[in-house]
């Protein structure tokens, strides 16, 4: 037998996992996500028409409300969770993980690569959607009496990008641990996170959500505007910017904790054990 090459290190294995996972996602899963965003663009288009006709809503408010409520709380979380869970849990579900786990590379490297791939897809899709939405609203100069506010696009693009990465980490954790990760993701997003994020400002539990740090990022990014704040967070009693804290740090901690647990589970779990079947 010929000598085989030295086995790849952690970084090389993670890189290969990113490359192949991206290839698979682009081939397979992306069409559903893109369809959802096309629906959003259409909605924004008609929203712009309605706002222009009513004459009461400004472009700033229209963009922020649609970007937050549709992109920030619905499409971005769900597309990031969907792609992340499919990338991590898909091979476990259809048992093709066996081909990957047979290779002389650490399982956490494979998982890290899958998370990076899912994050890249989710970030590109959600930031592109924010740009398209901004373009749709910006295309109506009548909605911007004070001129275009590019800082809004910057704020929301960053918020959506950071949120996508964090939701993909949650997806990696759920995908590695649970047999029905989408069900658990639904419980997390619709139930636990929504409840915790709407607790009192002083509640530390809010930091364990993704929704609340993202909301605080937007508060810090947009100009103080009580009317806009009311439109974005009707239940918020005290949306002052000095209470923002360190949302990036909170999201970073949450992301790392989720990834560490996911990697640990991935490395130890016997996914093919009859106990799981």
């Amino acid at each position: 037998m010929n000598a085989t090459p030295a086995r790849p290190g952690f970084v090389a294995a993670a890189f290969e996992s990113v490359r192949q996972s991206l290839l698979r996602v682009v081939h397979r899963r992306l069409r559903y996500v893109v369809l959802a965003y096309v629906a959003l663009a259409l909605l924004a288009w008609f929203g712009g028409h309605a706002a222009l006709a009513s004459g009461r809503t400004e472009g700033r408010q229209l963009f922020c409300v649609v970007a937050w409520w549709l992109l920030g709380t619905v499409l971005m979380p769900w597309s990031a969770l969907f792609v992340g869970i499919q990338v991590v849990h898909g091979p476990i579900e259809d048992r093709t993980f066996q081909y990957l786990f047979l290779r002389p590379v650490p399982r956490p490297a494979l998982l890290l690569g899958q998370w990076i791939a899912a994050s890249i897809v989710a970030v590109v899709v959600s930031v592109t959607a924010a740009c398209l939405l901004f373009a749709v609203v910006a295309a109506r100069p009548g909605l911007w009496p004070d001129g275009l506010d590019w800082s809004l696009l910057r704020t929301f693009a960053m918020t959506l990008a950071v949120g996508s990465v964090a939701y993909c980490a949650v997806a990696a954790f759920l995908g590695a641990w649970f047999r029905r990760p989408l069900v658990v993701a639904t419980i997390f997003v619709v139930g636990l996170q929504t409840l915790a994020a709407n607790l009192d400002v002083s509640a530390g539990l809010r930091r364990l959500t993704i929704l609340d740090p993202l909301r605080r990022l937007v508060i810090a990014g947009v100009e103080p505007d009580p009317r806009l704040a009311q439109a974005l967070w009707p239940a918020e009693r005290d949306p002052r910017s000095e209470l923002v804290g360190s949302p990036l740090l909170d999201l970073g901690v949450l992301t790392i904790v989720c990834l560490v647990f996911a990697a640990w589970i991935h490395a130890r779990t016997e996914y093919d054990s009859r106990e799981r079947e």
């Binding site: 010929n2 090389a12 259809d94 048992r95």
Partner: protein, 312 residues
Amino acid sequence: MTESGVSPDDPLLAFDRVTKWYGHVAALTDVSFRVGREIVGLVGRNGVGKSTLMKLSAGLLRPSQGNVRVCGLAASSAGARRVVGFSPDVERLFEELTAVEFVAWMLRLHGWSMRAARDRSREALSDLGLAPNMERRVREFSKGMRQRVRLAQALAHLPRLVLLDEPMTGLDPVVRGEFADTIRALPGRGVGVLVSSHVLPELESFVDRVVLVHQGRLLAEGRVADLRERVPSRPHRIRLRSSTPRDLAARVVTWSQVRGVDVRGDTVDVDVVAEPGFYEALTELGFAWPGAIHEIVPLDDDLASVFGYLVR
């Protein structure tokens, strides 16, 4: 030791008193055997622990007790995974990739460069007769083609131990023959093979030894002929060809070792209760009655029959 840390003297696969529990259920109990540079068939009914044994060998599962070692290394170690090729009994592949992309990806995870991985994957797929289709997506492949892709990914990285879980499933007879030829050539290159199959006659045609598993325990191991010798008291069917079959049957049926006879054309199928004594009597008959027996054919010396007797 070689550069991979593998000693050439170690058995390629060694199970040492391995037990595997799934919760309160013992899937394997106290199993020990070795595989060297040979082809070993793993035989057992569905659900007796064959796939568990394969996955333990591949390092996908860890034993609850005992040790599984590949070339002297723990089966779940990265060093062992370098030298093992496994074709699992999993229907799906990475459907959206082409056959070349899929095999090359697996090679990349073994440390092959991009170009070398693609070249080697083309070579491995061509060796298995997939050259005309290897740039097509796997989702367009038939069952037989998928099976060959599975074998290609198991062989492409030049492993020292190849594990094949039900590799004949879904293959037509011609491809089965080619498949068997491919596997038969491996020990000549220093590769050990453990292959499970429920198509026992085919398995028998190319394995050197068999390991029989039943209800999670190792029932027996060895060459098929040797195993048959271990069960001398089992009933046995023998076909005698004769120009006077009725007369022959009338003589033979009176022997105490014979339970019954069945005459069809020029043949007499004899149900033998106890082999010792029967062949001596048959030899004496042959001397006393020249020309009465033209041919003696054992009907159940095959692997399936031996396995059936052992299980009973």
